[in-house]
């Protein structure tokens, strides 16, 4: 006598898939929400309330899901909806700023805008050449000062002083410095230069020093993180070949983390290039082109935008338009720097990583 044991048949499709909303479900709800908001806006509800309406309609999705799919998937949909709304909320100011600056700034952009200074300009015309030169020179000098200091400090912290008491103190101070307000950096630079040149000193290089104070901690931090990412095995492989420490650092560790370091440098430049307060204190502003970092006032894009908006003259429109134009140029520079950072990390990172 033989008995065959047959397991009870399982409906695999039900077990694995369960009940689901149609795939077009989420898209349909979002479309409905946007349409409702647009309709409400068209009949005169204000923008904020229309957006709120759209959001409330989106919340139908988790309820619908709870009815059809059960608790677990409903929770998933609820969290997805909340996270997506937070994302949209976070994007809103960004796009709003971009839109405002671009729409108000583009109309003054012209060849003259980039090649003329404001010397002897009253009313229409003039340009930001002097401010562009100033910003590039001051930020460039700040980069020249901070990059070596920041990178060497990070190398010291990671490669030479790991774990000793001095490094813990330096790290603490760097963290504190990351948080200092930019106006304090400006006052520091001013106080420093007053020691040498007396009250009322105005100098481009002073602005560079102030920006360096802001840049160095960012650089130390980002470089440090990049150096820590280099696996210890690579250092050991190098030591085992009889390579001294400084060569290991300069030929293995730095090249391996180069992409990350350069990205950090670019982002730190982008971070300080729009600083206004410190430059206002130590560099001031002027209407003419000044190529000399060590002599007198220099214009810069952020301070130019601030001053044009603050003392627009009569009639004010032209000056205000120029301020928006300067803001747009600054924004473009920052975006270019971010783009460069991306390209660098794409092209410089070690290839063939699995």
């Amino acid at each position: 006598m033989t008995t065959t044991l047959t397991p009870p048949p399982v409906d695999v499709s039900r077990e694995l898939y369960g009940a689901r909303l149609p795939t077009w479900g989420p898209r349909a709800v979002i479309t409905a929400a946007v349409a409702a908001a647009a309709a409400a806006y068209a009949v005169g509800v204000n923008l904020l309330q229309a957006a709120l309406l759209a959001w409330v309609i989106c919340m139908v999705l988790p309820l619908w899901s709870a009815a059809v799919e059960g608790r677990r998937k409903a929770t998933d949909r609820l969290v997805t909806t909340l996270v997506s709304s937070a994302f949209v909320l976070a994007m809103f100011p960004l796009f709003s700023i971009l839109w405002t600056v671009i729409s108000k700034g583009t109309k003054v952009l012209s060849a003259e805008f980039f090649t003329n200074s404001m010397r002897n300009v009253v009313g229409e015309g003039g340009g930001i050449y002097h401010a562009l030169v100033g910003t590039l020179l001051i930020t460039g000098a700040a980069a020249v000062i901070s990059i070596p200091i920041g990178i060497f400090a990070a190398i010291y912290l990671v490669e030479y002083a790991e774990g000793n008491r001095l490094s813990r103190w330096i790290r603490f101070l760097v963290d504190v410095m990351t948080g200092i307000p930019s106006i304090v950096a400006g006052l520091f630079a001013y106080a420093l230069f007053v020691l040498f040149f007396g009250e009322g000193v105005r100098m481009g290089i002073g602005g560079s020093v102030a920006l360096s104070v802001l840049m160095i901690p960012i650089l130390v931090r980002s470089t440090e993180e990049m150096l820590k990412l280099v696996p210890n095995e690579l250092r050991e492989a190098s030591y085992a070949l009889g390579v001294p420490k400084w060569r290991t650092v300069s030929k293995i560790v730095l090249p391996t983390s180069l992409a990350g370091i350069v990205t950090g440098v670019t982002l730190s430049i982008a971070r300080v290039i729009g600083e206004t307060a410190p430059l206002l204190i130590i560099v001031g502003t002027t209407d003419s082109v000044n190529f000399n970092l060590f002599d007198g006032r220099m214009a810069s894009l952020p301070v130019f935008a601030f001053a044009s908006q603050r003392n627009p003259g009569i009639p004010p429109e032209f000056s205000i338009d120029r301020a928006w134009g300067a803001a747009l140029v600054l924004l473009i520079i920052v975006m270019l720097l971010n783009l460069i950072a991306r390209l660098v990390s794409y092209f410089f990172s070690p290839k063939g990583e699995r």
């Binding site: 250092r235 050991e236 492989a237 070949l241 009889g242 390579v243 990583e353």
Partner: protein, 259 residues
């Protein structure tokens, strides 16, 4: 050319943790010595103390004496950098330099130390080292590709090629074949046989057959208990250790009855 190693009463520490206790072992020049023993008993630690790689880890130190051809390895006038040029090492995990091509990886020892070479001489070293490591056929078409783009086993053979290209007098190999297939393993074993005529070789392995095949001497390490330091249980001619070990623990380990 080849050098002998004489270890006496060596204690190896990680900070306060005594990892390996009281090792005394002579290692003859132009011989192959295999270290066997269970995981965590301190084989890698001991191996790394033979070319002063142990002290690279923070807080790590050793007590005792290691003599290389009669010279004190841990003497005050010994420069660890020179020691490591003389005593090469292959690590347990492959670690090719990701920024370098396969070609440059093989020549890393020379390039990183800025040794000047003619192009033909360099090509020659690369080909010879890669052939010895059994990797030449697989990579000769793509020497300029990054070394980290190879498979795990290929990377390990690349690291072996890198270690032998500087012609060290002593070669320490930490489980060089653990990621390799039988064919590559036998290539490496042939390499060891060949190198033995000129160099002193120490190899850590978990493969008993391999130890029996390649080594002249075998040393068995064991842990006396959890959290206790590893110790050298016994060492001697490989045939003797494998045919009639004096310690019952050695016999149990070799025959696979362990723990």
């Amino acid at each position: 050319m080849a050098k002998s190693i004489d270890v006496s009463d060596l204690n190896i520490f990680y900070g306060d943790f005594l990892a390996v206790e009281d090792v005394t072992i002579p290692i003859a020049a132009k011989s192959v010595t295999a270290f066997i023993g269970p995981s965590g008993c301190g084989k890698s630690t001991f191996l790394r103390s033979l070319n002063r790689m142990h002290e690279v880890i923070r807080g790590a130190r050793v007590e005792g004496k290691v003599l290389i051809d009669g010279q004190d390895l841990y003497g005050a006038d010994m420069d660890p950098v020179n020691v490591r040029r003389m005593i090469g090492m292959v690590f347990q995990r492959p670690n090719p330099f990701p920024t370098m091509s396969i070609y440059d990886n093989v020549l890393a020892g020379q390039k990183l130390n800025s040794k000047r070479m003619k192009k033909t001489e360099a090509d020659d070293i690369v080909e010879r080292s890669l052939r010895s490591a059994g990797l030449w056929a697989e990579v000769k078409e793509r020497l300029d590709r990054p070394g980290s783009g190879l498979s795990g086993g290929q990377q390990q053979r690349l690291c072996i090629a890198r270690a032998i290209s500087v012609e060290p007098e002593i070669l320490l190999m930490d489980e060089p074949c653990s990621a390799l297939d039988p064919i590559s393993t036998s290539v490496i074993e042939d390499l060891i046989h060949e190198l033995k005529t000129q160099y002193t070789i120490v190899i850590v392995t978990h493969n008993m057959q391999q130890a029996a095949r390649v080594s002249d001497e075998t040393a068995f390490f064991n842990l006396s208990g959890v959290g206790k330091p590893g110790r050298l249980i016994e060492h001697g001619r490989t045939e003797a250790i494998f045919s009639n070990p004096t310690d019952p623990a050695t016999e149990a380990y070799i025959q696979g009855r362990f723990g």
